[in-house]
Symmetry: C2
Subunit: 355 residues, 2 copies
DNA sequence: GTGAAAGCGCTAACAC
DNA sequence: GTGTTAGCGCTTTCAC
């Protein structure tokens, strides 16, 4: 098996800092100081030049492992996705990752993405314990994750994205999911709907899903409308789940004129189910989603939704995490994005079809 | 700034292999051998037990940097996204990443995701040169990327996802994009369409976009239909770009009855533009996309598309890369997925609305 | 301003 | 079967 033709392939012999030092006629420490731009080690311009040139000439790039071992820093962040399926089916993560990636690059960090398949809590701990990342962004942790609290208690740089129940930990989320959901449902109520169904994006063990559900209930309550369990279904981030949840609602014949889905992808699936049965949106059933994924504006009809700026989430989580890693106190530790209800045609209000 | 209360936070003192060795009453090498499960170093059952227990008792996890430095292996893969925007707006990447993540975990690898923002070619080289990854999956490289060929020539483990122009390099793609596109367009022609517009997902510097465009041309040619530049627009992975490309096509008044978009997201954007102008799909304009993203089946109407199994792409790329890293010759070096045209309602053929 | 020296935590030959 | 011995490539404190 392992029979490769070695002639054509050089084993990619990497130069070491030693060789750079030799070529520049200085010591390895000087090379290190120059390349890391250590300010207080006043290296003369001339020496700096020589070192930089030597490095370039040799195509020298410091070994990540070497510097990690010596410095204790990895210059790597981890993005932990607690529910792997979320990655596959929803549009929130890629956007957040995009934002995180932007920030990381700016500060010279790499990003390790880890999606946890099985509900083995604390799988991600390995990344931390192996000292492979300097900090961790955790997306939508399960509630009561003891390992996570433990990590936070140890002072490990940690940012939670999505609803969190650990108060001391930096969190970036949308201003109280409950509030966003309330706004969405209140909007439907204002339009005259009194029987409003709900499909969640996950079980109540996910804080965010629970909060949005809670917002739904509160909005009903505030309007004096009764809550009916028969109008509620549980989805799982996917359009499929939205489709079948809606199918189930329709079969149950519960009778409703509006839907609040706590995730756009789920909403789009539900809309497909409505269309398949010849029901019109919004005339027969008005629909409101949550997240404002890029495709929401292009749905048929364009989806009214609560904007939860995924990209900004990623960026901000990155900023916070980098601050924490540097031992600074981040400017803000609990960031809530202002939640805007983006009104489009799916709930019937007259509005321009695109954003 | 850096004033943290040290009392509550232990600095997370990690145990080393030395401490495990001490506790187990063996040497560090034995610890290493046991924990790495080196088979040919017959360690007695009893010793193994002792070491394992000691490790567990201490909560020992080997330092990634240490073992990398000593072994030369990082147990980390890189996923390189050549066009960062692709990550933000399209649904292909998260699925591929999902697949890659599955395989990586199975083989004990982590995944570093790097999305290149600026068209600075070779930015990714740093990952390789810093010896931070053992291998690289490169998604949709730009054509004529010299750094990439160089890397391949050096024998660095490399797998290209998407169309590649470097023959010696392992590639996982969909069976000749050209063929898939031909099938799509031929299907439209068979339905009686003679004026078929095309919106690409990227410029011709992207091999995949070019191939799909090529397939479009060939299909027309094979049917004796003329090619018209006026019916072609360039998109960029996003629904927005599909929307405006379609708007532009309609304004140009080129007159067409069908659209082939080389990417589903673009197709969905184009469909929104059609609907906005009151055009019916497929009666006025039939639409075929490419990729079969999860939402394609839930579009209005459900989108006919060429299935390009993103998740499998990721899985397979992972398998190949791991093989290469291990110095094996992967079972297959050029994997082309069978391209299936998934016929749904958007092109008018009678068909069940969901997959 | 620059160099010397001491590790960082681990693996892998090679002895025993 | 297990321990000894070298490094892997870098950073960083402290002299010079």
């Amino acid at each position: 098996m392992a029979k490769q033709p070695p002639p054509t392939k050089r084993p990619a012999k990497r130069p070491t800092s030693f060789e750079v030092a030799e070529l520049a006629g200085v010591s390895r420490s000087t090379v290190s100081l120059v390349l890391n731009g250590v300010p207080k080690a006043n290296i003369s311009q001339a020496t700096q030049q020589r070192v930089l040139e030597a490095a370039r000439a040799l195509g020298y790039v410091p070994s990540a492992a070497g510097r990690t071992l010596a410095s204790g820093r990895t210059r790597t962040l981890g993005l932990l996705i607690c529910h792997a399926e979320h990655l596959r089916v929803d549009a929130f993560i890629p956007q957040a990752l995009f934002g995180l990636n932007q920030v990381s690059q700016r500060y010279g960090f790499k990003v390790i993405v880890e999606a946890v398949e099985e509900p083995r809590p604390g799988a991600y701990l390995e990344l931390v314990r192996a000292k492979q990342v300097d900090g961790l962004v955790v997306l939508n942790p399960r509630r009561g994750d003891a390992q996570l609290s433990e990590l936070a208690r140890e002072g490990f740089p940690l940012v939670i994205m999505g609803a969190s129940e650990i108060p001391e930990v930096c969190t970036v989320s949308s201003r109280d999911n409950t509030l966003g959901a309330r706004r969405a449902v209140t909007h439907l109520i204002a339009l005259g709907h009194t029987r409003i169904a709900h499909i969640s994006y996950g079980g109540l063990e996910y804080r965010g899903a629970e909060e949005r559900f809670e917002g739904y209930r509160r909005a009903l309550e505030a309007a004096g409308l009764p809550f009916e369990g028969a109008l509620v279904r549980e989805g799982d981030y996917s359009a499929e789940s939205g489709f079948s949840a809606m199918a189930s609602l329709l079969e149950a014949g519960a009778g409703f004129t509006a839907l609040f889905a706590s995730n756009d992808t789920v909403a789009l699936g539900a809309m497909a189910a409505l269309r398949e049965r010849g029901l019109r949106i919004p005339e027969d059933v008005a629909v409101v989603g949550y997240d404002d994924i890029p495709l929401a504006a292009f749905a048929a009809p364009p989806l009214t939704t609560v904007r939860s700026p995924a990209l900004e989430h990623g960026r901000l989580a990155g900023e916070m995490l980098v601050s924490l890693i540097r031992g600074e106190r981040p400017e803000r530790t609990q960031v809530d994005f202002e939640l805007e209800l983006v009104v489009r045609a799916s709930c019937g209000a007259a509005s321009p079809p695109r954003r």
